[in-house]
Amino acid sequence: MTAARNGFFQRRFDAWLARRLPRVERIRLDRRSVFTFPSRQGLGLVLVLVLLWLLATNYQNNLVFAFGALLGSLMVVTIFHSFANLAGLEVRILGVGAGFPGDSLKVEVEVSQRGRRHREDIWLSFPGAVPQRVALPRGEQTAIVTLFIPARRRGLRPLDRLTLETCYPLGLIRVWTHVLLRGAGVVYPRPIAGASTAGGNTGDAVEGSATTWGSEDFEGLALFRPGESRTRIAWKQLARGLGVYSKQFSDPVADPTWLDWHSYPGLDREARLCRLCHGVLEAAAGDSPFGLRLPGSESTLGRGEIHRDSLLRMLALFECEGA
């Protein structure tokens, strides 16, 4: 909706909205923040009302007048019901996920109320996202809605305005708001394969032991410590009466991989980040520990998904606006 009309009035409206509803941590919807107008269906009923008025006038029929007035009043009463369905809700962002460009970022929105009012048929949407419906049946105070927003460019992606709207209970009146909430998704660089000039394994050799405790190769025996798995008890030694020992294994450690900003000369920043991203993903798929060196910052060595994600995050936030 916002993208469709980009004229003068849209800009004025956006500016007005920015003043009226600035970005906040959480918002409680009230008269100030909620807008009310007949929905398209409501305008349909207005058409029916006009026809009824013509009918009543031409047939000079006061009963038709009366029932036309009843339908009109019903529409007015609906304004309050629809408004009350949305007003009083509190909205905040619980968390925003991360992803690559073209992915969908998961946004968790908490919708809550202090009272016990029954609320139904409230739609939450971000521009470009599939709307989600939420209800707070009588007595329930919190609901969590998960929305997915498209990830576009690398960097921090602050949330767009979240639209909450409802036409409940009769669909005649649309009550809505566009709230701007704190929270931003992280968009990683797009992974692009590319050979580095210096190769991946250069850098300082890792000092000390080149193994870590693992499960692959038998290393030796050690005194059993309570808490160790019983499958590791060296039964043979125990049977010989030598005491309780446990078998120790180790994993062979490959050379660590350092992914370095300077390995890609001649490329611009984004292109380098894309290559580095690809490198991180490759390294994470392998066995060896890996790390990342960027101008001005350097990560630790590590393995596993958490480490990978923290490196991707470093890449995403590198020299980006708002980081």
Partner: protein, 674 residues
């Protein structure tokens, strides 16, 4: 925008119900095949709902549409008109029912249903119809709510409850809108619902009124400002019939507008010249049921007070348009006024003396003979009435008459109803050379004991004569009064037995007038219908009066203020109900007492820390206030019992302990904290 909105199963059922309720009463007014369309559609839809049948194939839909169009073209002359329009709408929303895929399709059905439900008011405006339409609107609103609500298995009635509550909340505002909404005249002429109406027609053949005499259908109601006239003065003039072709009587000219001498608001020279006002005027309001023509009923020389009504030379009150719906008008009448007292124009005289070329020779001979014997018109009239009084008999079942009906009546059968007497009287007078004419209308009416208005029914239909006498103008002569004075004094029911009147309608309410409580009930229902007709259906004619009484003066500022204030007052309950956004969660009584205990300790400088258990808190406080240690532990024990033992218990114990603690602690704590 958004996903495709599905219609829930619950919503579908409410939709079907709404269609049935909306369409059901219209079948009285529409061709008999029309009900089959919604019936078929609803059954088919139910089949789809129960997954027995599939959605009709496109070919079937096309066939149905063509059948409907064919039916409409065959049943109605043209498609312009009320019945074809309503029949078309009924067909349209029935067929749409078969192809509801989304919420939007359902909305089309719902909006059409709203419209069709209200068009019922064009066919019937009774109080019961009003109630029915209200119910139908609630049902349609339930369908609207149903398609917007989630299905909920344990609350299948939720849409209906929502709808009923919202319509009830809308009702006060409706009253405000209804009172204030400006009423305009018709913007263009519209075809009226065509169906037979019991009542007087614009021509009279002998026997017509006799048949009306057996109907207790309502003709009109009248309420008088001030004193009600005597019963024998209540001659409600309808039409003046001057033309006689030997068989039927007709008004001299059809097309009253030609003869109208004064529309409402005008003062005509004719009226000034030809009407001599005498006696006290009567002012009254008549609520006329719909009838076959555009004439109205009044009491003698009248001035119309309602827009687009007028009065003709022969004192027929007429409306500009036919009375195709209930019509309310006000009149001022002078029953004692003299009409054409000075002279009758030669043309008019010829009209009022007109006789058919032949027929009824014995009557004509007798009239000429009597005139020569009794030249004084008054004496002649008295002689004829004496003749009636002598051997005639008043009955609702008169014997059949031959070709020379007046001859047969006067000389052979001598049994008749009012029309027999009136028609023979007028013919006799004309034959005797005295200008005379027949007047049809109603006589009398039933006074409602509580509400003070008159109800005039079809069996009050009456015919009487008028003769023109020099210096006195037109004089009313009612030969029926000579034969059956009790008819005029006590109404038809006084003159005849109930069985005779209602021989054809054994269940008519009016028949049971002798059973006291039933009669009370009947009068109550009639009072309701009357007030309904006067204040709701006829509101446009009293709107200014009502607003003037409510506001003191009618101007735009006051109306605006009334609208605003009325809307606010009417919406106040809704405001209070719906805007109570922060509905407070009522704390558990145990929590409530315990929290007040915590507050007093906090005031003493020992607030409970976040996450601190009651037990730990008690230990800490007991150390700080050793004198109250016992009470603190006792309260904590009681609270933990209530909250966590799972056996419930009496919060009153806790309440007493907390109260006692707070009372003692308040004067002890300063000492302790010092």
């Amino acid at each position: 925008m958004g996903p495709l909105w599905q219609v829930s199963r619950g919503g579908t059922l409410w939709l079907l119900l709404a269609v049935v309720v909306t369409a059901a009463p219209l079948f009285r007014y529409l061709p008999p095949w029309v009900p089959l369309v919604p019936l078929l559609a609803v059954l088919w839809r139910l089949g789809i709902y129960r997954a027995r049948w599939g959605v009709p194939p496109p070919a079937a839909k096309v066939v149905l549409i063509l059948l409907c169009i064919g039916g409409l073209l065959a049943s109605f002359k043209g498609l312009l008109g009320l019945e074809p329009m309503v029949a078309m709408l009924v067909c349209a929303f029935s067929l749409k029912l078969l192809e509801i895929h989304s919420r939007r399709d359902a909305l089309v059905v719902i909006y059409l249903a709203y419209f069709v439900a209200i068009t019922l008011a064009l066919f019937s405006q009774s109080f019961l119809t009003g109630l029915y339409i209200s119910t139908a609107l609630v049902m349609v609103t339930a369908a609207l709510a149903g398609i917007h609500q989630d299905d909920s298995a344990h609350q299948p009635w939720r849409p209906l409850l929502t709808a009923a509550a919202m319509v009830a909340q809308a009702a006060p505002l409706m009253v405000v809108f209804f009172l204030v909404m400006p009423r305009l005249g018709p913007l263009w002429s519209v075809p009226a619902p065509a169906s037979a109406v019991t009542g007087m027609s614009d021509r009279l053949a002998i026997g017509d009124i006799t048949s009306l005499g057996r109907s207790s259908a309502l003709a009109f109601r009248a309420s008088f400002d001030g004193q009600l006239p005597e019963r024998q003065q209540l001659y409600w003039r309808g039409l003046t019939l001057s033309r006689f072709d030997g068989k039927t009587w007709e008004p001299f000219r059809w097309g009253y507008a030609d003869g109208v001498v004064e529309w409402q608001g005008e003062v005509s020279a004719w009226w000034q010249r030809e009407v001599e006002l005498r006696g006290e005027p009567l002012q009254y309001q008549v609520t006329l049921e719909r009838q076959n023509g555009n004439w109205l009923y009044s009491l003698g020389a009248s001035k119309p007070l309602t827009r687009s009504t007028g009065i003709t030379q022969d004192q027929t009150l007429v409306s500009l348009t036919p009375v195709t719906r209930r019509f309310q008008y006000q009149v001022k009448s002078w029953p004692e006024a003299l009409l054409n007292p000075h002279q009758l124009s030669p043309a008019r005289r010829a009209i009022e003396l007109q006789l058919p070329p032949g027929g009824n020779p014995r009557t004509r001979d007798l009239a000429r003979q009597w005139r020569s014997e009794t030249p004084d018109p008054d004496a002649l009239i008295a002689r004829l009435l004496d003749y009636y009084r002598g051997s005639f008999y008043y009955t609702l079942s008169p014997p059949a008459l031959g070709k020379d009906s007046v001859d047969d009546f006067l000389f052979t059968t001598q049994q008749g109803f009012c029309e027999h007497f009136a028609a023979s009287f007028v013919l006799f007078m004309r034959a005797a050379g005295i200008p005379a004419r027949l007047v049809v209308g109603y006589q009398g009416g039933e006074l409602h004991p509580d509400e003070g208005y008159l109800t005039v029914r079809q069996y009050d239909a009456h015919a009487w004569g008028e003769v023109w006498l020099a210096d006195r103008g037109w004089v009313l002569v009612d030969p029926t009064a000579a034969v059956a004075p009790e008819r005029i004094l006590g109404g038809l029911l006084g003159a005849m037995s109930l069985d005779e009147v209602f021989a054809n309608s054994p269940l008519s309410m009016a028949r049971f007038q002798n059973i006291h409580w039933l009669n009370r009930l009947r009068l109550q229902v009639e009072a309701l219908e009357y007030n309904w007709a006067r204040w709701v259906l006829g509101y446009d004619s009293v709107q200014l009066e009502v607003l003037a009484r409510l506001l003191g003066k009618v101007d735009s500022v006051r109306i605006g203020a009334f609208l605003l204030a009325g809307a606010v007052i009417a919406l106040l309950p809704v405001l209070l109900l719906s805007l109570r956004i922060r509905g407070r969660v009522k704390p558990d009584p145990a929590d409530h007492h315990y929290l007040s205990f915590c507050r007093s300790l906090a005031r003493a400088g020992c607030p409970r820390q976040p996450g601190e258990t009651p037990r730990n808190f008690a230990r800490r406080c007991a150390q700080r206030f050793p004198a109250s240690a016992e009470a603190i532990h006792a309260i904590t024990d009681a609270y933990e019992d209530l909250r966590y033992s799972g056996q419930g218990g009496d919060p009153a114990v806790l309440a007493v302990r907390v109260t006692r603690f707070r009372r003692q602690f308040r004067w002890r704590s300063p000492v302790l904290s010092s």
